[in-house]
Structure formats: C-alpha cells, structure tokens
C-alpha cells in the first residue's frame, strides 16, 4: 500500500503533509455521514472517463444522490448533469469553488454556510493536485477527499494509485453504503409510523 500511495505524476511530490490512504471505501461514507455540509466537486474530465457501469458523471450523480449532497461541476460538465436529469448542481470553475472554500464567510453552494467536506473527482491529475494544495494550506477547517483513481497527496483522504476495476468497485461500495443507510432509515421510519 505504501508504495502505491505515491503521487501518480512522479514529480508532483507534495511535502511533509500527505493524504491518508482510503483503505476501505466505508471511510468515505463515514466522512460524509459525519459532515454537516458536504459538497461533491466534479471536474471537466468526468464525461471522458468511462467505467463499465457508466462514466464518471453517472457515478458522481449516484454518489451525490445516495449521500444527499450537492454537486459543483466544472462549467463544461454542467450540461451533462442537466441532461441526465440531475438538478442539484451548480456550475463553477474549479478555481472559483476552491477560492470560495477558503473563505470562512462564504455561504456555500446552497446558502447553508461554508462546507466542512469537499469531495473531488473527474479532474486532470495536476489540476486536482494543485487545487487540493490550495485547500490544504488555506482551508484548515475543511476536510478534503479525493475519489480520483490516482493518489492525490494534498487531500486529507485519497485512494492510492489503483486500477480502474478497483476504483469502480470502491465507488460502488460507497454508493452501496448509503443505500443501506437509506434502507435502514426507511425501516426506522416504517417502524415509527
């Protein structure tokens, strides 16, 4: 695991503070559950990354819906979300959302105040690397999670460098976690009713 948790681009060495490795997708689910105001940030590569169960836009939608959180999408991906019927999405250049995430007074994508968790997927490697660097240094109350296929050292949590198969499996497991949650919740509701 250790060797795999190296920056994917060999030279993009971050420094002393490096992302913890997500050894189990449940960690992600737990982080989201514990978050008061999470946001999923999806980059311009998302529609171009095709997995067996859909492209990364599909996965973003599934995760956002399962976990009940809004998406901020890179402008060029906005249409993809809307076309697929996902509405809880705001389009914003990634530098803008990152900049806002460093402002304690920002009201957040849904006017609920600053976010405490930002989850990233669908970016060029070095773009995500740098954006996460900005957040690591300048938004110390924000937890960041990378769901990219490659280790993102500037996140607080990241997958290591994994295969496409493993990646897809992990994404599915995160979604499953929440589905189970919902089932349980529904059951609880049923019981209560």
């Amino acid at each position: 695991m250790a060797a795999k948790a190296e920056p994917w681009q060999t030279a993009e060495v971050p420094g002393p503070k490096k992302a913890m490795v997500i050894t189990n997708p449940r960690i992600v689910a737990a982080l989201i559950r514990r978050s008061k105001n999470p946001v999923l940030i999806v980059g311009s590569m998302a529609p171009r990354i095709k997995l067996s169960g859909g492209d990364l836009v599909d996965y973003a939608i599934r995760i956002a819906e399962a976990a009940g959180m809004p998406i901020v999408s890179s402008p060029s991906v906005l249409g993809e979300f809307l076309n697929r019927g996902f509405r809880r999405v705001l389009s914003m250049p990634v530098v803008d959302i990152a900049n806002r995430l460093t402002d304690a007074d920002w009201k957040g994508v849904e006017n609920k105040g600053q976010h405490d968790l930002a989850i990233f997927m669908g970016f060029k490697y070095h773009v995500c690397w740098l954006i996460l660097s900005g957040l690591k240094h300048y938004s110390q109350n924000l937890k960041t999670v990378s769901l990219e296929m490659r280790y993102q050292p500037h996140a607080l949590w990241s997958f290591p460098n994994i295969s496409e198969e493993e990646w897809e499996k992990n994404l599915n497991e995160i979604i499953k976690e929440f589905k189970q949650d919902k089932m349980i919740l529904n059951k609880v509701k049923e019981v209560k009713e």
Binding site: G15, P75, G79, V95, T102, K124, K136
Partner: protein
C-alpha cells in the same frame, strides 16, 4: 527618476571638473526629455512603491488564491522549511508570502531575460547602425512609437541611443525587486504581489525597447497589416539543401546568416529554418526564411536530422541540444553569453580553423560571441558537412518501435513522467497488435519534452516513437503564417477605439505565450478562429502565433490566409515574437491615449484605470510555461488586462480571482459625480486558469465586458457570452443578472430567456457610470 538623475551625474561632473560648461545642463535635459511637449505625469520612472496604491486597489478586488506547488521553502540554508498551513519558516515567512515571493522571483527572471535580451540586442544594433539611428516602427502611421516607454518612463525615445537610459532604469528596478526575494526581506504577500506587478510593468518596457529597436534597425515590417505570408511546419523544409537551424530569441546571429548567404550569393542553396521567436524574427528580417514551429518542436526537429548545423542564441533552447545534436552528428554553435553550453570559446579564432574542427575534427560545437563570425562558420560548416551527414537522423524505424514495445516493462513510468499524462504504455501495447495509430494519436498532445524517455527504465526513445508513428501527418505539416507585423498603426487605433471602448467590437483577444498546451496547439487555433469569426480583434505572438497557423479550415486555408492581418474586427494579427507582445499592451495604451486623449506621459495609473474600466482586452496564454510568460502576464495585470491560462498555468501557483458574489468588491467611482456605483464583476478575474478550451472561450467572452460598455456594446458582448455558454455548456449562464445594468443591455435576440433569469435573480436596474477607481479623476466630488 533614474534617467534624470543619471543625466545630472554627467552635468555635475562637467561642472565640478571643468567649470565652464554649466550651460550644458539645459541642453542635455532637453535632448532626453524636454523636446516632448506633453506635460509630465505623476509617475515618471516609477520606483517599486510609487504604484503600490494602484496595485493594492487591484489586489483588494482580485485577491490572490495560492496553490502551493511545494509545501516547502528551500531558498536558504536555514531550510528546508515546512510552511504547511500556518507554519512559518526559520526566517518567519508564511506560505502566502513564500508563494508570492516565488512568483516575484519568476517574474524577476522573466523581466531580467527580456531586459538583458534588449540590452544585448541594442548594444549590437548600436554598434552596427549607430546610436543616432532613428526609432521608426511605422513611419507616419505610428506617431506614438513607444507607448509603454512613454507611459512608464515619461520619455520619448527618438534614436537607438535614447533607449539605453531606459534600460538603465529597468536594470535598477529588477535588481531592487530581486533583492526583495532575499531571505529576511519583504514580509507581506500583498507587497510581494505589488512587486510582481512592478516586475511585469518593467518587463513590458523591456519588450518594447527590444522590439522597437530591432524593427527600426533591421527593417522588420513596420506596422504592416499586410505583412507577407511565410512557410511554417515540419514539412516545409527542403531537405535536399544544407539546412541551418536557428533557435532562440535574439535575432542577430540569424540575421547575420541571412546577410552572409545573400552577400555570397548562397541564399537559394541553403535553407534557413527557425524555431521559437528567432524564427519569427528571422522571417521578419527576410520572409524567405522558414519556420519549423514553436519550442515543443525542438527535439523532434533535431532528431529528424534535417538540420546540418544548429545555431542557438538565447531563451527557450533545450539544455540538451548538444547531446541531441551529437546523436545526429550536427554541430552546435552557441552565440550568447547566457548559453555558452560549456563549449570552447572560439570567438577569437579563425573561421577556417573553427569550420575544420567542426567538420573534420569532430568537435561537437563552438561558442562564438560574434554574430558575424558565427554566421560565417555556420554557413561554411553547413555546406561542407551536409554531404557527409546525409541528413543522418535519430528517428527510429517502425521495426525499432516494435522491438522497443517488446522490451516495455509496462511500468507506466513514462506516463507518470509525462506532463500531459499521455498513455504511452497503452499505445506501445497496441503496437504489438500491429497498430501504430494509438501512438500517432499522442502526437498532437505531446509537447516534446522528452520526460517519458528519461523515465523509462529500459531507455526507450518514446518521443521519437511518437514522432515516427505520426510521420505521415508531420510530412503534411505545411502551413502559412503571416510575418510578425510589429506595432499597431495609430489610424487603426483611431478607427477601432470607439467601437472597442463602447463595446461594439466585443473585445481584443490576445493569444500569447508558449506551447505547454494540455491538448495540443489546435485548441489555440480553434479559439482564435472562433473569436475572429465573432468579429473580435484577435492578436497573437510567439509560439501561440505559430500554433494558430498550424490549422486548416474546410477549404484548406490557414487562419492567416482566411482572416485579414489588420487590427480590426475579425482580423488575426500576428504581431511577432515574444518581445512583440509589447504592441498588444501598446495598443491598449494607445486606445486610451489616441482615441480617448488621456495623457500618456508618466501617467500610469490613469491609463491603467482607463483600460481596466473601458478596454475589453483579454490575454490568453494557453500554453504559458516560462518565467517570461509570468512576467508578461503581470505586466498585463497592472495595466488592467485580465489573463487566462490553460490548466498547466495553475502551476504558476496563484490566481487573482474576483468574487462576483461579493457586491461590495464591484464598486467604482462615477467620475462625473464622485458617487460609488456598483458595476458588476467586470472583468471578473485578473488571472484565471481554465480547465478546458471551452471554459476558456466562455471566460474570454465574459472578461471582455467592462463597466464603461454602452448598452449596445454590452448587448453584443452579452450575446457572445451567452451564445458560447449555451453552445458549450448547454445552458444560459446563471450570472447574467450581474452584467445587465439596464434592460437596454439585454441582447434583443435573447430577450425572453435573459429576462427570465433576471426575474429569477431579483435583478434591479443600475446606472452606467463614467467609471474609475481613482478618486482624483472625479470631476465633481459628492456634495460639492
């Protein structure tokens, strides 16, 4: 006020030692500054802090957002220091100050490069053409010959010699700025940023000095919208002839080669081909020269073996040129003291002896500081060595690629080393299936850096594989580029000033900088063509100007053939090499001066305020990679021109971002009343990196909006913005309510959908002021 002071030195010397020459004082003063009648403005030869107030105004609105490229500082032996989060280094510095310090360092390097380039070029030209050689960049068509120099320095250079004092000032400022990066100096990131702006302004003056000097002395096109079209592309080289390849930015040795060939009747018999800006300037000197391409073509062209002799001057030259050239047995001549390359200094040796050593003695190259001698050696060597070399190349055969592919360990180290994350290993795997297409398809996005090869544990020459796989396509790389025209004519400014300022020409879009593109140069060409079609004024320089050429429309025309070279709506204007970027800034300044009659001389703040609020100009450096590019960008920022970079531009480690959601940031003074008026986020950002070409294009359209737009102008700009947004993103933008001041701003054809957004957003009407950020420009104070 360096220049003035230096002049005084002389006077005092005269006075103190000779006594009787007191009257000289006035005469000297007159020569340099007093024959120009325009009243001098408040900031002649500004020092670092003279424009700090203006800088802080910009930085207040466009706050730096840092994305550290490294958590550490390693600048002194107290370090390395970990600056993560709120940690401080051993010198007490924090991360924001450190990041801005590195940006300043980069801009100092950039400005120093242009300034010393200008200095050496000028020394050479003065030696050759005399100190009294007049500055002439466009004859009667260009009265404001040096808008940046006039604006910054408050002097009006008439001869080459006049430019020397300007360079003294630039050097003094750069040294001071560089000093600020020393451990234990500047403590505040905002002050570092202000110094970054200062470095950028200095850089722009240097660009202008260099280009107006060479235009004047070397007979480059003088603001000619119809400068000739020349050949560009790897496919344009006539390989039957001896080929001399010139690389770099400082044209004297290349010009000397052309001269030597012409004088000796050899011109038809030898190909002179250029790479990077020296290529631009060689074609400006003689349009029979040819251009290979931008910096990213260096490795592939050397390895192609077509060049028999390689002459490098300075800037953007691969550091392994000598190693690569030796692979194809081509001697290298270095000609600049900033890149001697470790070669023996042959400057004082006899030409014949040097040629002999290169051709017969097998010496890998020579360092020759004298351009004329270097030229003669280059030509003679090329003629003698060409038959021996027989275009010996270092590009593999297909069978080599197959063998290589078999050796591949599938470690992916190549991809992990590739700046563009290209799937080389996968492409090699396809080779074993007999398919070269995957490899060939990497060609466009490959910036030719060679890092994949360095990384490969089995030393496969992967870049060469890609080039070989794309061979057919490369042979077809024959395009046309319009020779760099230099300055913009005053009359062109007069004609477009009003439509630009009022918004009827929706904007001036400048494609500049290097070739570190994320997906290849075609994107630049596509952007340029799109905006030219939309009747923006498109200008270009350097590598970007070359990339624009390498594109053909359905009818097979390159953009320079399809669009006119005039500085007018729908033109695509190649100004020239990197130093010609000065004409782009110059054009913006001239709009304020010539069209709007704002005083130019040493009046920086007012002009920058004018541009920021009224001139819808945007710079796009899609492949910006160098420290020079950083300096050029910061020169534009201080002048109020926003700059967009490609995704690699994030590695400059900080953006200057506006917050359209903070209304308080977008107030200006109404110069008519002194009232503070909300004008919306126009322009929204000062430095912005886009993830994709589409994102960049929408942002270009958006950043062209300025507070002063007339309703008609704003409607045109908005319609471009909305149209592009819809086309690329599928929706109408959700921020148009911020840009609609009155209903007259709404584009007629989009009325319904826009009004819908306005209603949703609770839009209210605003006034359109006479906008300024400078209280002193308010004609009538509130309550007066």
């Amino acid at each position: 006020m360096v220049s003035e002071k230096n002049i005084r030195v002389k006077i005092d010397e005269l006075r103190s030692s000779i006594g009787l020459l007191k009257g000289v004082e006035f005469s000297i003063g007159k020569v340099v500054s007093e024959e120009w009648l325009e009243e001098i403005g408040p900031t002649q030869f500004p020092k670092i802090t003279d424009l700090r107030e203006w800088d802080f105004k910009l930085l207040q609105r466009y706050k730096p957002f840092y994305m550290p490229f490294c958590d550490l500082c390693c600048l002194c032996t107290f370090g390395k220091c970990d600056l993560t989060g709120d940690k401080r280094g051993a010198c007490g510095i924090n991360m924001s100050a450190q990041q801005s310090r590195i940006v300043l360092l980069a801009c100092c390097i950039g400005a120093a490069t242009h300034t010393s380039h200008a200095r050496h070029l000028l020394e050479h030209l003065i030696e050759k053409y005399g100190r009294d050689h007049p500055i002439n960049v466009g004859g009667l068509n260009v009265e404001v010959e040096a808008p940046i120099t006039r604006l910054v320095c408050g002097v009006k250079p008439r001869t080459l010699g006049d430019l020397e004092e300007v360079l003294n000032y630039l050097e003094q400022e750069i040294v001071r700025l560089l000093a600020a990066t020393h451990t234990g100096q500047e403590a505040s990131n905002l002050d570092f940023e202000s110094k970054v702006f200062h470095a950028g302004m200095i850089d722009h003056v240097a660009l202008e000095v260099a280009d107006i000097a060479q235009i004047s002395a070397l007979g480059f096109p003088k603001a000619d919208p119809e400068a000739p079209l020349v050949d560009i592309g790897l496919g344009v080289v006539d390989s039957t002839k001896p080929v001399i390849m010139v690389v770099g930015h400082n044209v004297p040795s290349a010009a000397a080669i052309v001269d030597y060939l012409v004088e000796n009747g050899l011109y038809g018999g030898v190909e002179v081909v250029g790479l990077c800006c020296t290529a631009h300037d060689t074609t400006r000197y003689n349009p029979k020269a040819k251009i290979v391409g931008p910096i990213s073509w260096q490795l592939r062209f050397i390895r192609s073996g077509l060049a028999d002799v390689i002459v490098v001057d300075e800037q953007c030259i691969r550091a392994d040129t000598l190693i690569e050239a030796q692979k194809v047995k081509a001697p290298v001549i270095t000609t600049s003291d900033v890149n001697c390359g470790g070669l023996p200094d042959r400057t004082k040796d006899k030409v014949e002896k040097i040629v002999e050593d290169l051709v017969l003695g097998g010496q890998p190259g020579a360092f020759i500081l004298d351009p004329e001698k270097a030229a003669e050696v280059a030509v003679k060597t090329a003629l003698l060595i060409a038959p021996k070399r027989m275009k010996f190349k270092a590009i593999p055969d297909v069978s080599d690629i197959v063998e290589g592919a078999k050796k591949c360990r599938k470690c992916d180290d190549c991809r992990r080393a590739c700046p563009n994350d290209l799937p080389i290993r996968d492409a090699l795997a396809k080779v074993l299936e007999g398919n070269l297409n995957a490899l060939a398809s990497l060609y466009e996005a490959c910036i030719g850096c060679g890092r994949c090869e360095s990384a490969c544990p089995v030393d496969l020459p992967l870049h060469s594989y890609i080039v070989k796989a794309a061979e057919k396509r490369i042979k077809e790389e024959k395009y046309k580029i319009r020779v760099g025209r230099g300055a913009i004519q005053d009359v062109e400014i007069r004609n477009v000033g009003s439509p630009i300022v009022l918004g009827e020409i929706p904007g001036v879009v400048a494609f500049v900088g290097c070739a570190n593109y994320p997906n290849g140069g075609t994107e630049v060409a596509e952007m340029a063509v799109e905006f030219a079609k939309r009747r923006y004024i498109v200008v270009a320089s350097g590598c970007a100007a070359m990339s624009i050429a390498m594109y053909k429309d359905e009818e097979g025309r390159t953009p320079y053939e399809a669009f006119p070279g005039a500085f007018d709506a729908g033109g695509i204007v190649n100004v020239g090499s990197c130093v010609s970027n000065s004409h782009i800034a110059g054009a913006a300044i001239k709009i304020a001066n010539i069209f709007a009659k704002r005083r130019l001389r040493a009046n920086y703040e007012e002009i920058a305020d004018y541009i920021l609020n009224r001139v819808g100009a945007v710079g796009v450096a899609w492949g910006a990679m160098s420290q020079k590019a950083a300096a050029i960008a910061s020169g534009f920022w201080r002048l109020g021109v926003p700059v967009i970079v490609g995704p690699h531009g994030l590695k400059y480690r900080r953006m200057l971002l506006g917050r359209k959601d903070n209304p308080e940031d977008w107030y200006v003074y109404d110069a008519r009343t002194g009232e503070k008026v909300y004008v919306g986020p126009a322009p929204e950002h000062l430095f912005y990196a886009a993830e994709t070409k589409e994102e960049a294009m929408v942002m270009i359209a958006k950043l062209c909006m300025r507070p002063n737009d007339t309703t008609k102008g704003r409607a045109i700009k908005l319609s471009n913005y909305i149209d592009l947004h819809k086309r690329f993103f599928g929706t109408i933008p959700d921020d148009i309510h911020l840009f609609v001041r009155t209903l007259a701003d709404v584009p007629l054809t989009m009325r319904e959908e826009v009004i819908k957004v306005l209603e949703e957003k609770g839009w209210k009407e605003n006034v359109i002021p006479d906008p300024t950020l400078l209280p002193r420009l308010v004609k009538k104070k509130v309550g007066e």
